[in-house]
Amino acid sequence: MGIEEKIPDGILLTNVAKLLNTARKNSVWPAQFGLACCAIEMMAVGGPRFDIARFGMERFSASPRQADLMIVAGRVSQKMAPVLRQIYDQMPEPKWVLAMGVCASSGGMFNNYAIVQGVDHIVPVDMYLPGCPPRPEMLLDAILKLHEKIKHGPISGKPDWTTIDGAPYEKPIERDTRSSKSLPVDVEIQPYLTAPFPGSGT
């Protein structure tokens, strides 16, 4: 992104990274992406009993431009998938994704044609949270584990695990699944965002 990635991490930059990551950890603003019953538990976390504001997450951002963490709460249908990706793309760097509940994490019990089998098919997920729906304490636990992850992250704030085959994680995930689906593989794969929708014509 900037100059901090061109310079190797020295002692000074390590301390700067610690400072930056502590600041980031303590002011993660969530983007609400409530889709189903998990959103009810997410609302409970925002309420007085569990009070997410204790962790510097006071403001549930309704706009992706002001958000750092996307909490995907609920099952993501195939139709919702492009919307989810667009919201994610609109969020500024560094950004994190928390898949709340089994439906967002893996499809859960909805193993059918309508539901995306895990939002990590669309966006890189930093924390998976099981439960159907998870109780508010579980979401707080996941957020605290994510805070630990942010705290020990690199200076750019990006989690280092998201490098897939050497490609940086902000690139759309392109997985060639044609061979497993016994489709012709001699055609070059189209990039994610520029590929025309199948059947939409020219």
Binding site: R49, L129, P130, C132, E137
Partner: protein, 219 residues
Amino acid sequence: MADEISPTDPADPTERVTDTSYREVASTGRESTPRPAEEKSSALKDLVAPIAGFGVTFKTMLTKPVTEEYPEDKRPTAPRYHGRHVLNRHADGLEKCVGCELCAWACPADAIYVEGADNTEEARFSPGERYGAVYQINYLRCIFCGLCIEACPTRALTMSNEYELADDSRQDLIFTKDQLLAPLLPGMEAPPHPMRLGEDEKAYYAGKATPAEKTEAQE
């Protein structure tokens, strides 16, 4: 068909016009005759209303906050809360699971994977013929409904109250048998070993002799 509509039909447009005129008459009639007593009380109410609204705020300031200080002060769940599963053991350490796969059949989310295998005289993991050689629960599929618990014929599978399961890897959230098995309590011995709770199966399941008593009797 239009001429068949009766005059009292609510869908008739003329009827609706009449309704509106009625309403106008009623409203003007009320405005022209306000009651003096009502006016006085409403003025008092208007004066008190903002203070009464703050009354709720002031009252709340004196009450104890309802916030749970979660990571520092963990409140216990309901005793029958559906948390992470546990694979139980008999009192001598043998596994209760017999590898029947009924839990996997009952699971609506297909979260459980079981592979059974035969017990032999050399390697006995559970009393009876079979044991669960491979046992996995995918916590990213499991919806904690408890149907597997209901299905289990030997009460081998139960649920704990543990709920802090979040992880950043899908692989690590598939719990294997060694993670699910209950810890060995004092007096238990890690399988494989022969049945230690009695001479025959009937005595074993009756649970009359504990392993400690058994060893004392042998001495």
